[in-house]
Symmetry: D2
Subunit: 458 residues, 4 copies
């Protein structure tokens, strides 16, 4: 049976330290940090750490900023040793010299942050600290050293070997489920009824957890078990549609993936997360044939508007030029500029092939080895998925229209191809895609491109 | 409900990789490590990691050594960036330049080790790797860079904030209790009956665990709840003595503390461990007044023999010189040189005051700010304990006689003094001790020393 | 680790049995019951039991009724043995003869019900069966033998020694919390926000569970931790009032107690439940001084209307007669007959003393040793509580007005008096009450009564 | 989270009751029982129950016997009601009259026992009480009413629907595993090493538990996973033989089944237990083809000695008569009478066919519909197993030789035949057996028997 981490250390604090805790400003935090760093005894350090984190919790943004600046500018590596190590390395850059330089350059700040992490609940606060730093960095570059150390430590602490995949369902604690409602970033949940539908017997939800944050999901995915690849989001979300029989499903549709901790940005566990979830689903439902997403295309509209504005005539087929008259692109741009284009001329039937083609083009661009610009596409392609299909009228919510004219994409996770796709995307920015996506993207483009696209799909 | 970490990735490995795994030598491990490091896809990396750790598990010591050497000499930081950062820092050593140098000098090896840690069970193997490195370092300094990186990562992973204190008792899993028998380093357990006595209702046992090693204690302590400070070990271990009533105990005697993972040497959690155990005991038994150890003095005999050989006449009182005749010290040394001195002339009654005094002297030496040489004493003094009493005939087992002529020490953990003791010991090597220890240590020594010793005890 | 109870027995069933299961009518159930009873092999019996309970689950009320009638009229005790035992007992009624008669009269039906209970989930269905029987009994006395056997078996199975008290809070599974919303019988919850308020840090909720129904609360209580005895319900339910500090509370107010399983009616665990909850609260909050309910008085209005109609002039004081003129009672009855009496003449200030007095009279009636008629009062008095106070305008919801003109009562659980109160109520119907209740009830009544009432309060 | 059952009721007990508890004799227990029965308040009853069970725990056998006698002779059903019900039933024995008679004859004692069961730990004591009663009954028939009530209640409480099958392994709590060592009734374990071998990866152990006795196994089975039906016990028990690979096993050998609670005798869960264990094994190891026991034949030697003494010449073949000379049987008996017959004349080769045949005869006797006399055989046959094989030199331990000349039997659990075997055995005492057993048993017997035996095996 586990026992709680820290006892009541309050009584071991001096009167002065207690006063600092009660005065929630940066100066107090700085003094506590200095004192924490100077402690030789570990239990004294534990008490200081607890006090500092309690204080940090109640500090306002301004006080925190001051504290961050102090941390970033102090607790440096020992200068003599570092200078000597740098000189030695420059003289003769051997593995040993590099190692000594690496050791000598670790700032005292890292030790301080590790000591801060002793306090109960500290890990969550350090994640919040990094979130604030990431926001502030563009305007305060001098915070970089602190952000960098946090990045380094969080990267070690949140090593994928320590993460635990858990299934969440209607038997999970209410306090935890409540967080799903709050963190859902893709398709908003309006309350417990929405949530309940998403945890029905034909659904699954998995999340990654870290032992130091047992009640905080790091990333979670919502999955629908159904027949065939879903081509629209609203039937998946509608509470009115009765749950199907999960044991007759042949397809698992990953329709929402949310990162919960902005302070862990850049500490990737996406691919492994999806791979493990696929393993879990396969173990429970051996009959599943297809693991596919139903994903937004958040950058499409912005990209298309830029292209239309810059007059990229390659996007249009001859016939379309005729429909719109010259200047065709400009007319297209006009037609699409309002959100009620679906009810106006030219009718959607004319726009549909154009938008599907443009979207295929958008999502398959290699951009000189960088891959497409779309953040969701990049996430799945980096993980080894294949762009399988683009769906018309798939998300007709205001946000869906505003982002991508209602289009959504299916990315397919085919375990036999994941590693190869991954590798090609990482090295060349090559977008794995289905044959039909290849055909779609090459329509109207030059013949050579067309052949290339089709080849990539084979 | 947690689900298992990694699925079966075997099928995602190439035939070649599988052959390497089956051929347990360093070359195979090196190729897997290079391949693991080069992977872009995380699930491919997870598969490589799993394969590498499985291979490592079956490699013999020689093959492992070759592999370690390779790791230590390769996976260096990027040379251009590091050179530039070193030069920039030497030019102008600002916090930003130091941070860049720190970032630039992190070797690729750390990333590789983090990737190795993805595999299930990898953390335990990396600890074993460091254990082997610590043994090999005296003869193979070129392993230092690898050991240093492991030390850095293990230090982050085993941050005290992630450790969990658990009570172990007769209801704990047999597979776990079995490890206590194996790891007990102070007073050997000869089987389940011995163990059972140590988990009886008047005993307590606590251990630290890490979430990545849920079945492996990191450090554990055995405690007897009794009346008054125990002055000998055998009554505590004898299975024949019926358990007392823990609720009538006024003293908790910590009679055995064992570190279980040599590969975590230098990653300290001793003090915090004892502090937390004291908190737990206090919560369960509010009537406890005294928290004290009954500890071996493993270096005493070796130290005394050296002193006797070098003729440190300060150790003897006038009266003792008379008993032994000249050269008194030499005669003393002769008397103590065999293990049956207790049954010979001069009789123990004569030796007792001499040995107690010498031991007090041994344990209170400041050694120019370094504190006494004894490893157990250093552990408790560093944690803030006070040397309270030295006990005659406290451990008459062969090992007890061989190490310390059967003497044992009580170190007292007095929560009101821990921080101060800690600080003084860390800064000046000052040994906190009771008044009677002060008197004992000063007997026969010069007056000035005597006063100093007594003062320190006040 | 527990493993699931029953494997897949479907394959061990004959084709005929499977057909019966698919045809949800009483005839099928009867055949299965006969077959279940006749089985010699226990695993065959387990399969039949599973089949029967699956069938029962989908039978409609009519089919169930037919099945119940069959069970009640068959599966009798063995006639020869019973006849012989009855005659032997009548001849010579010794303990041995009584024991044989008891054994001989146990109907085969009990064995059948025990066999039915082997199936997973059967216990819940047998509780539902008793619920249906209790409803049907007034019109179908021939069901009595079946109801009696269920009562006997459920009484044994739900022995208080097997019940487990669990604390429910916001970390409990959502699927369980959802049931609190459904089962709340006293003050309706309109959804998750209401529920959340009732599980806030200044609230507690406890329930009894049985191991065979781990997800089904049997009875639960909602408690507010506050300062002083609460005198109205709406401040306790309002989501808008911020939670107080439970550690500063001196009073625990039990404001809602709901029985969840009508099929367990008469199988009492009320008193023990409240006693254990008091123990739990006291362990967590040693500073609590007072454990009191805030309870409805559901039968008061109906009782008062009857008294007013029958002209019980004892209820009025002289002064009140003057206010209302003759016939005073009739005028009173008129005044109270509509639900908007609070805004009409005679003004509430006149009605208040009258209603409080009448209510005190209602709740303290001994009724020839039976105690007051009010079901809630009977529950608490039987459990040893004391009627402490009657509160004006305490529940002004339509239901509160309709049942008791908005009055609510506080019953006090004073552990030093519980046993004595219990005993007196059980034997004489004596209602333990506070001094002020005694004064209130005796106003206007004959002097002798008055003295008696005051005496009982001492 | 479950919370402990009973609070501290000691303080609610009168001084007199506390004295009774401290004086551990039957008179005190009787007074407490009377007081417990008379309580109206449930929390008062809980306190009395606790006190009574604490007292019972420390009473010696004599005091307990007196207490049992009192309980058996008192707490009778209400005489008037019972007399009326008996007369009514004899007049007109309807279902309703039988039900009333059943209700009227339930002794107050059952209510008392249910109240006793409220105390924590009481269920275990009531089981112990029944164990004592079962031992005492042959000499004290007047205890029957009490034993009968306990049987009735325990039968309800230990309804198979409430039992939980748990897998026990080396990760189970030591305190639980220790009980396996103590309870093992078939092949003694000499300590933790023996136990560990029986929990190795190629072994399984399952037990039934009841929620009220979470730390007490009711029955447990030890299973070896191996290739082919085991024909001797010692290779299964030898700690020196390395564990095999469970995933390559085709046979599960149930080599030890122990009932742990003599006080639950006659409350059968054997068959269901084995059926569920088979289900569990099949789920974990789908490749298992055969589920078979390796069982002792505890009654064989006693049976054979009787037969030999009575001169049952049917057991010998013509050839055997010649070997031994006349009187052949008597010579046989002489040869087998010492325990070193294996090393003497006539040599074992001559005795082997005789003993195997006699054992087959012993185990296939129908005994006028009662089945064979052997308790182990009866257990497995009643459960639906088939006698598959008799093994020579299968258990050469002193006990094995003493009971059955070292013979052991394999009983086969073939799920397709269990129900039919069960039924035939229950109704006709027919022993299901393999063809070869049929041949063996019919050797030397009359032709008609031979044919019958072979037919039964088909």
């Amino acid at each position: 049976m586990p026992v709680r981490f820290l006892g009541r250390f309050w009584t071991s604090l001096s009167k002065r330290t207690r006063q600092l805790i009660r005065k929630p400003d940066g100066a107090g935090a700085i003094k506590l940090a200095v004192s924490l760093f100077a402690q030789h005894g570990e239990s004294a350090a534990a008490a200081r750490s607890d006090a500092l984190m309690k204080l940090y919790r109640v500090m306002n943004a301004e006080a925190r900023h001051g504290f961050h600046l102090y941390l970033a500018g102090n607790f440096l590596p020992e200068a003599h040793r570092l200078k000597a190590a740098a000189e030695a390395y420059l003289r003769r850059p051997s593995p040993m010299a590099a190692a000594e330089l690496s050791a000598a350059s670790v700032p005292a700040r890292q030790d301080l942050l590790k000591r801060m992490n002793i306090a109960p609940g500290a890990t969550g606060l350090l994640i919040a600290m990094r979130e604030a730093l990431l926001k502030a960095l563009p305007h305060a570059a001098e915070l970089k050293p602190l952000e960098q150390d946090l990045n380094h430590l969080l990267g070690a602490w949140f090593n994928r070997g320590f993460l635990e995949l858990r299934k969440l369902d209607w038997n999970s604690p209410a306090a935890l489920l409540e967080k799903l409602i709050a963190y859902e970033a893709v398709h908003e949940m309006r309350g417990w009824d929405d949530l309940r539908r998403r945890l029905a017997p034909d659904r699954r939800c998995f999340a990654f957890f870290h032992p130091a944050l047992p009640d905080e999901p790091l990333i979670f995915v919502e999955i629908a078990l159904c027949q065939g690849m879903a081509d629209a989001i609203s039937p998946l979300l509608a509470a009115s549609i009765a749950p199907g029989d999960a044991h007759e499903a042949d397809t698992a549709v990953f329709y929402s993936i949310s990162n919960c901790q902005p302070g862990l940005r850049g500490i990737a566990f996406g691919n492994l997360f999806i791979t493990q979830v696929v393993e879990e689903l396969r173990a429970e439902f051996p009959q599943l044939k297809c693991f596919v997403t139903l994903s937004p295309v958040p950058g499409f509209r912005r990209w298309l508007e830029t292209r239309l504005a810059s007059g990229d005539s390659d996007l249009l087929r001859e016939s379309e030029r005729n429909v719109f008259g010259e200047p065709a692109l400009k007319n297209f741009a006009g037609a699409l500029s309002s959100n009620d284009w679906r009810t106006k001329d030219p009718e959607p039937a004319v726009l549909k092939p154009f938008l599907l083609r443009a979207c295929a083009r958008y999502l398959t661009e290699t951009n000189a080895g960088q891959g497409p610009d779309d953040s969701v596409a990049r996430f799945h392609l980096r993980n080894g998925a294949r762009l399988e299909r683009i769906n018309w009228c798939a998300n007709t919510s205001p946000r869906g229209i505003a982002e991508s004219y209602g289009l959504m994409a299916n990315y397919l996770y085919d375990s036999g191809q994941i590693d190869a796709n991954c590798e090609k995307f990482a090295v060349h920015g090559t977008v794995a895609h289905s044959f039909s996506i290849g055909v779609l993207a090459s329509e109207g483009s030059k013949a050579s491109d067309k052949r290339a696209l089709i080849r990539a799909a084979e």
